[in-house]
Each structure stands twice: as C-alpha cells, then as structure tokens.
C-alpha cells in the first residue's frame, strides 16, 4: 500500500510540475531563453483563473463550466502577455549573451511580482469550487480528490499535444527546423520571428494553465511564483533543456523522489529533489534527453 501511495502522490505532483516544465523547456528549445519569469506567468495564470472563475460565478453559470473559465484565463494570459513580452522586450536582446537574457527575464520576474500585487492586491483569492467537481477516489484506506487525477489527464494531454504538434504537423516541423538552425530555416523562407512569438505564447500558455489548475487548491496570493520556478528548473535540468521527453521523465523523477522522501524520510524532502538531480547530472551532465548539438570549432 505504501508503494502505491508513493506512486500516486509522486505522479500527481509530477503532473502539475510537468505542465509548468513543459512550457519552460519549449521556450528554451525554440528561443534558447532560460525564462525565469516563467514562474510569474504561472502566478498570473492563477490570479487570472481566480478572476475568471469569480466572474463565471457572478453570471450564475453551471459550476461544471468553471474549468472552461480556467482554460480561458490561461489563454487570455498567453494572448495578452506573451506577444507583449516577446515582441516588446525579449526581441531586443536576441543575439546577445545568453546570460544577459537570463538577467532580463529575472528583471521581468521581479516586475511581474509587483504588477500582480498592483492588479490583484495582496489579499488572497479563493476559487476552491472547481476542486470538488470531480468527487473523491478511494484507494484502500486513502481518499484522494478526483481533481488530482484530472491533473494527470491534463498533463498527459499537454505532453501528447506538444509532441504530436511538433512531430506530426507542418507547423511543428517548421518549429523543429527553427530549433535546429534558425538561420537556415530563415533562408528557406520560414518566418522565424513569427515562430518565436508562437512558441513563446504556447510556453506561457502552459505556465498560465498550470497556475490556473493550481488556483482551486491554494489561496492565490503573492509569492506563488518563487517555489514553482526553482523546482521546474530542476525538472528541465534533469531531463535536458529543450526536451519534451526529458521534462516528462524529469517531472516523474522529482515527483517520485519527493513522495518517497515525504513518506519515508520527511526531513529530506527538499534534499531528495536535488540529490536526484545531482545523481542524474553525474552520469549525464547535460541531462537525460539533451539533444546532440553541432558545435562550431
């Protein structure tokens, strides 16, 4: 029973983490940006979901529609903030030192922290209604909230959609071409600039979606962004920056390591994530699924 509990807890945690990390790794894969502000988009997604669900409630629509409100919130965040950020800020720094882009996204992270406070204030928001929509699931003596399993389904759907989109569609193949070499893709007539905006927007959508899905489980208030960005960085480093499979395996490793620690050695919970990362990096310094890259000599 303990092993099953660890497995369920680990996979539930990994699902949430995967949705965040998938966006992070996608943005890195396409734009080569380590986007520290990803955590802020997650937080904005949570706030937007709180607002949208609240708005739905005032319209007296069926509570079952509240997940639609959460999805719309994530779409709205991506549609509004991603072009503004990518075209208005990041584009200015393309081609410069990668470290500079890290600093720019860190600055953006700090700015968005204050912007969320400015827009939504410091008072917590609660939108717990959707949390109970999926009932409870019993496993032996343990009771789980059905919402947790819905998270697993969403994570799998997101992973499959991104994988299918990249590997089985024309747009995806164009994106892969840009990932491989933006210069060659550009010379072949690909509008690289548009691909960048599209990829960034989808990455931000995933961050905002993860935030929106988290909103019913927590009180939405300042500080949401910090914890998530640190642990999702651990995931993408384990999996290999830019790799979808890596993000999935990385999230599973982190989720299971954390669950194992909490159930068997709680004091080592935080340590467990980083020891897992250290072990992987000893044998695979560039992560589990880092693509082989051509290097200019």
């Amino acid at each position: 029973m303990l092993a099953l509990t660890i497995l369920i807890d680990g996979v539930v945690y990994a699902s949430w983490l995967f949705i965040v990390a998938l966006g992070l790794t996608l943005v890195f894969g396409v734009l080569k940006i380590l986007n520290i502000a990803h955590g802020s988009f997650y937080a904005v997604g949570a706030y937007a979901a709180a607002s949208f669900v609240g708005w739905f409630t005032t319209l007296e629509l069926a509570p079952e529609l509240s997940p639609v409100a959460m999805l719309l919130a994530a779409v709205a965040v991506a549609a509004l903030l991603a072009p503004l950020t990518e075209r208005g800020l990041l584009r200015v720094f393309y081609g410069r030192d990668e470290v500079l882009l890290v600093l720019v996204t860190y600055a953006l992270f700090l700015i968005l922290e204050d912007v969320t406070k400015l827009v939504w204030g410091p008072t917590p928001y609660y939108v717990s209604e959707p949390y109970m929509l999926f009932g409870n699931v019993e496993f032996g003596t343990l009771s789980y909230v059905g919402y947790d399993f819905m998270l697993i389904v969403v994570a799998v759907l997101c992973g499959l959609a991104v994988w299918w989109g990249l590997n089985r569609t024309r747009v995806g193949k164009v994106v892969l071409a840009v990932i491989h070499s933006d210069e060659i893709a550009s010379s072949m007539g690909v509008n690289v600039s548009r691909i960048y905006t599209f990829a960034f927007m989808f990455g931000i959508f995933l961050a905002a979606l993860a935030g929106a899905l988290t909103a019913p489980m927590v009180s939405v208030q300042p500080g949401l962004s910090v914890g998530v960005i640190i642990v999702s960085f651990a995931v993408v480093i384990i999996g290999g920056l830019g790799s979808i499979e890596g993000a999935a395996i990385g999230a599973l490793i982190v989720g299971l390591a954390r669950a194992l620690a909490v159930h068997t050695w709680p004091a080592a919970e935080l340590f467990s994530i980083y020891i897992a990362m250290a072990i992987v990096l000893v044998f695979r310094p560039e992560g589990l699924f880092q693509r082989i890259q051509a290097r200019k000599i």
Binding site: M1, L2, T5, I8, D9, G10, V12, Y13, W16, G121, P122, T123, P124, Y126, S128, Y131, M132, N136, T141, L142, S143, Y144, V145, D148, T214, P216, M217, V218, S219, Q221, P222, G223, L224, V226, G227, V228, R258, A259, V262, H263, P266, A267, E269, L270
Partner: protein, 384 residues
C-alpha cells in the same frame, strides 16, 4: 496587509486624538506620527537592508515590524548594533531573547511557547484522548521552534503519547497532497501544525475533502487568521489558537469593543491576530513614548530613553494586559485563549466555540527560565 490596516487605523486615531483613554492624547504626547510602510516580502537579507534604510535614510525614530521569525532573527542584531529602537510585533521564535540580550530591541507579543503550551493545556482541559501525535510544521525557525515546544509540552501533559509522522514542508510549499497522504496513512489522535497564512489555507483546502479532520483531531497553533477567508471551507471541530486572545476570542472590554468595531467598520472584516498584535505594539509604544517625552521635558526622547520607558512596562491592549515581564523586560507575556471551529450558517462565518482562556502566567515561562527549561520542569511556577 491586515497588520498594516490595523496600523493605519490606529495611527490615524492617535494623530486625531480619537482613541479611547489613556490613548487619547494627540500623536505621541502631542508629536504627530509620520508612518512609513515597508513590505516584508523578500527574505532576511532584504529586510536587513530595508531596516538600515529606515534608520539611516528615512531617519525614523522607531521601527515596528516583522512577522517572520527568520526576519526577526536577522534584524534584531542589526538594530542593536546601530543602537536604534526596534519593536518586533509578531514573530514567534523564543530564540530572539533566549539566545542573546538586547538593549534597543523589544517584542511586545508573547512568543510561540505560549501558543503551544496553551494548545496542550486545552487538550487536557477538554479531556481529549491522545495516544499518538502527527506533526506538520514549516521547515524554518518558526516551524522548528513550534514543533519543539508542542512536543515538550505533550511529553509533560501526555507522557505516554507517541510521535507518528513528523513532516516539515518548506515555507510556501503550496502542494500538500503527499503530506496529506502520509498523515492519512498513519492517522494519529492529534495532528499538530503551526502552518500559517497561505500555507495553512492550502493545507485546509486540500486536506478537508480528503477527510483528515475526520480521522485526527487537528490542532493549529496560529490558525484564526485564515477563518474569514476560508469560511465554509474551514472544517468544523478544528482546535486552534490565535497567538493571543484575539479576534473572536478577544475579551469583552471597552477598549476591545472600540478596536473591534472600528476595524470592522473600516475594512468590512473583523480583526484577527496580525492587527491585534500591531495594535498592542503601537499602544505600548505610544504610552512608553509619552512616558519618555515627559521625562525628557516634553522633547522627543532618544532611543535610550525610549528603551528605558518600555523596559518592564505594562499596558492594556484590546486582548488584555501586556507585560514586558521576561527577557529582562524586553519580551512580553499576555493572556491567551484556544477555541474550536464551528461554521455559523446564519452569519456565514466560522465561529469559535468551547473557548478556554489562559492567564499569561499559566502559559508563559517566568522571567528566570528559558522556555524549554520551563516546560521540562513541568511548568514550574505556572499560575493557572
């Protein structure tokens, strides 16, 4: 935010001279108060810098602040080194004055030992059967100290009770699914937590639907402040403290009636622990400042004069008498209360019932003993 709201309300009342006697002199002894508000977010290093800015750039005469125990531990030595006046109004770790002494630093609220001793005494007073205890406390100064105080208290009051799970999630974890499974897998008679703020709200939202409160008696050392926000999402029957006789457990006195109603009127919500603690800090500071001003011939006192006036002082607050009785007159003790949650459908709010009140000397260590030593001695000299 509720603490700042409380401060704004009181500073305005002080400056207008509209607070009830003996707090009705305008400002501090006629000197108008110019408040500066600084956000505590950002961690201990940032707070040390902010504190220095307040003293050096803003030239403030006194700083009242800090919720986080980690921040308090960081800023107290800095104020002392700069020889500037500082009141820690909220943070709970007993270590501040038990590990070193200060001349310029004060804490106008009781530390976390009171909260955990009171919880233990409440369980005993209500004949709650305790065979095993699970713990979930944050992995930083506040969580560790609260855990230790409650464990030591239960060793005294329930010597046969055994520890089950001892979980220590990081501050701001947000996701507690795994911890809740661990608590449910080995349910204990009592589950103790000192989680607060967003962490406590998340724990309640995630654990209630999974039936944690049905399998274990949950006790929270600092839980009152989440009640207005959670409303009917807060399960019935949770035993909790407010870190003082605050909010719905506050005493029926003229001063408290004024404070409670003014706050409720202005912010459309009743005051919980943070504004109460802010109020008792500002009320104490006001009287101490007026004492120091009088001793200084009506002029603004120096930090040394202000510190001398507050040292060992006592005053009436909305939550009862605050006495700077321990740590050589720098650390307050105060009465407290513990209650049990019960949702009131008519008022659409969580009420606290089965309230038990504890005098300050019953749940706080005496002046000559450290918290740990006092609990281990079987609460020597406690007046209950």
């Amino acid at each position: 935010m509720p603490a700042v709201n409380g401060a704004k309300l009181l500073v305005e009342a002080f400056n207008n001279g509209t607070a009830p006697a003996p707090y009705d002199k305008k400002g501090f002894g006629g000197i108008q108060i110019e408040p500066i508000y600084v956000d505590e977010a950002g961690g201990a290093t940032k707070q040390v810098q902010e504190l220095k800015n307040l003293y050096d750039r803003e030239k403030v005469d006194a700083v009242v602040g800090y919720v986080s125990s980690g921040d308090c531990l960081a800023v107290a030595p800095v104020a002392e080194e700069m020889k500037r006046f500082l009141i820690l109004y909220d943070c709970g770790t007993p270590r501040i004055f038990e590990e070193r002494s200060y001349e310029y630093v004060f804490r106008t609220a009781a530390h976390a030992t009171m909260d955990n001793v009171a919880l233990g005494r409440y369980l005993k007073a209500k004949n709650v059967k305790v065979d095993t205890i699970n713990y979930i406390n944050q992995d930083y100064a506040w969580g560790h100290d609260s855990l230790k105080d409650f464990q030591l208290t239960m060793e005294q009051l329930y010597p046969n009770a055994k520890t089950g799970q001892d979980l220590r999630p990081k501050f701001g974890a947000g996701q507690y699914g795994t911890e809740i499974s661990a608590l449910l897998q080995k349910p204990a008679s009592v589950t103790h937590s000192s989680l607060w703020g967003g962490d406590l709200q998340a724990l309640m939202l995630q654990s209630a639907p999974r039936g944690l409160m049905k399998r274990s008696q949950v006790v929270l050392s600092a839980g009152d402040h989440v009640l207005p926000g959670l409303g009917d999402k807060m399960p019935d029957g949770v035993i909790l403290g407010a870190r003082g006789a605050y909010g719905l457990m506050s005493p029926d006195t003229p001063l408290n009636r004024w404070w409670f109603s003014e706050y409720e009127k202005k912010y459309n919500v009743y005051p919980v622990q943070a504004p109460y603690r802010m109020a008792q800090a500002l009320l104490g500071l006001k009287l101490a400042a007026e004492k120091a001003i009088a001793a200084n011939g009506g002029k603004k006192p120096s930090p040394e004069q202000l510190a001398a006036a507050l040292k060992g002082f006592s005053w009436e607050s909305p939550a009862g008498t605050i006495s700077m009785a321990i740590a050589n007159g720098h650390q307050a003790i105060q009465p407290t209360a513990i209650g049990r949650t019960q949702y009131n459908k008519e008022k659409k709010r969580v009420d606290l019932v089965d309230i038990v009140r504890f005098p300050a000397e019953c749940v706080n260590p005496p002046a000559d003993m450290k918290s740990e030593e006092w609990i281990k001695s079987g609460f020597k000299g406690a007046k209950c």
